[in-house]
């Protein structure tokens, strides 16, 4: 079956602009995760959804970052007033029900470049 997909694959924007990054999880997976991976670093947890609700958003760096999952499937990560430091690869993952023992399946990521 289809894996986790993310769009766009690349996004170039200017400092101060607003961007939206989309994640389409594996069908039927109720748990969805967003991570940010800066160059030379491991992925950094941002937020975890269980269904439509954000169960843990402790990794969001500040109030410029926001994520939604209105129907419990597709999720959108929104970044307002982008800064050059937001440049990174944004990864999305999903798992069947959010049990920590489950495998998280990762998408290919969206590479964001803020000029």
């Amino acid at each position: 079956g289809a894996g986790v997909s993310q769009t766009p694959s690349n996004k170039v924007t200017e400092k101060g602009k607003y961007v939206e990054l989309r994640c389409d999880p594996i069908s039927g997976h109720t748990a969805l995760y967003w991570y940010r991976q800066s160059l030379g670093q491991g992925p950094e947890f941002l937020i975890y959804f269980q269904g439509t609700g954000a169960a843990d958003d402790s990794g969001l760096p500040n109030d410029r970052f926001f994520a939604v999952r209105p129907e419990g499937s597709v999720s959108t990560l929104k970044i307002q007033r982008t800064e050059r430091g937001d440049s990174a690869v944004y990864l999305c993952a999903s798992s069947q029900s959010g049990n920590y023992q489950e495998t998280q399946y990762f998408g290919p990521g969206t590479r964001l470049l803020v000029l």
Partner: protein, 114 residues
């Protein structure tokens, strides 16, 4: 401070040689432990995981890892490396606090020479 440490930024091994990638963690209680691989152009893929029980766990692609509580380590091994194993490897933990946050190490890049 709670952390996951991968001491080696990069490692080079010859094809056919054995491999060991190091991972140490610093948490009050033993967390849940994972190894992931990230190949160019591909997403992160889970190699193996440890929750409890037998301290030697087998994973995909011929990898194994050994949990050593006394050393707070979870090192990844492979007896014979193939050129296709060249990739970035990440150790990760889910702290035993009931949450779902996965904490990743900074990664070790593996180079394989012919």
């Amino acid at each position: 401070a709670q952390s996951v440490t991968q001491p080696d930024i990069h490692i080079t091994v010859s094809e056919g040689a054995s491999l060991e990638l190091r991972c140490n963690y610093s948490y009050g209680a033993t967390p849940y432990l994972f190894w992931y691989v990230q190949s160019p152009g591909q997403g992160l893929q889970l190699l193996l995981k440890y929750f409890s029980g037998d301290t030697l766990v087998q994973g995909i692609k011929g990898f194994e890892a050994e949990f050593k509580r006394s050393q707070s380590s979870f090192n990844l091994r492979k007896p014979s490396v193939h050129w296709s194993d060249a990739a970035e490897y990440f150790c990760a933990v889910v702290p035993y606090t009931g949450g779902f946050k996965t904490i990743f190490g900074a990664g070790t890049r593996l180079f394989v020479k012919a």
